[in-house]
């Protein structure tokens, strides 16, 4: 076994167990995004959905024997960080102007 390679181990869970778990997490996150009215709650739901995608990527990397999926997960994590930072900055900016973070009250662009 070359250096850096890890033993297969006795991971008995099949691929679709991980995929089902990720789909469940994605659905819960999507439910949170559409039902929460607090802007921060919506951002929390988006975090859940991105995590579900990461689980899928790592599971496919593991079961296809291709570490490229893990590299893509690194990219996803970086982009999530940027998204959260900009999103929270926007929320704080909106709160400074409108004194609210409830998405229903943010209707400045409504005609």
């Amino acid at each position: 076994m070359p250096a850096g390679m890890l033993p297969v181990g006795t991971s008995a869970m099949p691929l679709h167990a991980y995929l089902t778990l990720a789909a469940t997490l994605f659905a819960i996150g999507l439910f949170g995004v559409v039902t929460r009215r607090n802007t921060i709650g919506i951002l929390l739901g988006i975090e859940l959905m991105l995590n579900a995608v990461n689980i899928n990527l790592v599971a496919f990397a593991r079961f296809n024997g291709d570490p490229a999926g893990m590299v893509f997960t690194v990219f996803t994590i970086c982009i999530t960080v940027a998204e959260v930072a900009v999103g929270l900055a926007l929320v704080i900016l909106i709160f400074r102007i409108r004194r609210t973070v409830i998405a229903d009250h943010l209707d400045l662009l409504r005609g």
């Binding site: 076994m1 850096g4 890890l6 033993p7 297969v8 181990g9 991971s11 008995a12 869970m13 099949p14 691929l15 679709h16 167990a17 991980y18 089902t20 778990l21 789909a23 469940t24 997490l25 659905a27 819960i28 949170g32 559409v34 039902t35 009215r37 607090n38 921060i40 709650g41 929390l44 975090e47 859940l48 995590n51 689980i55 790592v58 599971a59 593991r62 079961f63 296809n64 291709d66 570490p67 490229a68 893990m70 590299v71 997960t73 690194v74 990219f75 994590i77 970086c78 960080v81 940027a82 959260v84 930072a85 929270l88 900055a89 926007l90 929320v91 704080i92 973070v101 409830i102 229903d104």
Partner: protein
């Protein structure tokens, strides 16, 4: 056998914390549930032998992002504002059958032969060395683009939240 039990415990932890995140109306509870959820996902990464990603998950998500969320919630104090009647109540009757349809579709897709063929987990390197080698050879250009994106986000956040001098 042990890994099966560990998987089910982790799955229950992750799904339970996700449900708690969505259901609880207090956003500070949501942020704390998010920490539990991300820790569980990091443990799942360890089960899949993705050690580097598990460490990065704990450092970046459970460290940086959770602290950022808690900080923003503390600044905004949006505690008791999600009250009042739901203005889109009629859409709930549409949401239930559509959600059920989506769940059925996902279940049908997961039962297809692509996923259920018993593939044994391959010996795939998951440490820093393997990920770093790919990151700096095959995926060097996306890596640089990502670093540029992070720089743009950094400058953008500073420009957005800067108070006007006037």
């Amino acid at each position: 056998m042990g890994s099966v039990i560990a998987f089910w415990i982790l799955a229950a932890l992750v799904v339970g914390s996700a449900v708690g995140l969505v259901v609880r109306r207090n956003p500070i509870h949501g942020a704390l549930f998010l920490v539990v959820n991300l820790g569980g996902v990091a443990a799942l990464y360890l089960m899949m032998h993705a050690e580097f990603l598990a460490a990065a998950q704990v450092i970046v998500y459970a460290g940086a992002i959770a602290v950022l969320f808690v900080f923003a919630i503390m600044v905004l104090i949006p505690g008791k504002e999600e009250t009042g009647p739901d203005p889109l109540r009629a859409q709930r009757w549409l949401a239930v059958p559509l959600g059920g349809f989506l769940a059925l579709e996902i279940a049908l897709v997961l039962r297809s032969t692509v996923f259920t063929t018993s593939r044994s987990p391959a010996t795939v390197p998951g440490g820093v060395e393997a990920v770093g080698r790919l990151l700096f050879t095959d995926y060097l250009f996306p890596f640089e683009v990502t670093s540029f994106l992070l720089l743009a986000a950094l400058i953008g956040v500073m420009a957005l939240t800067k108070r006007k001098a006037s």
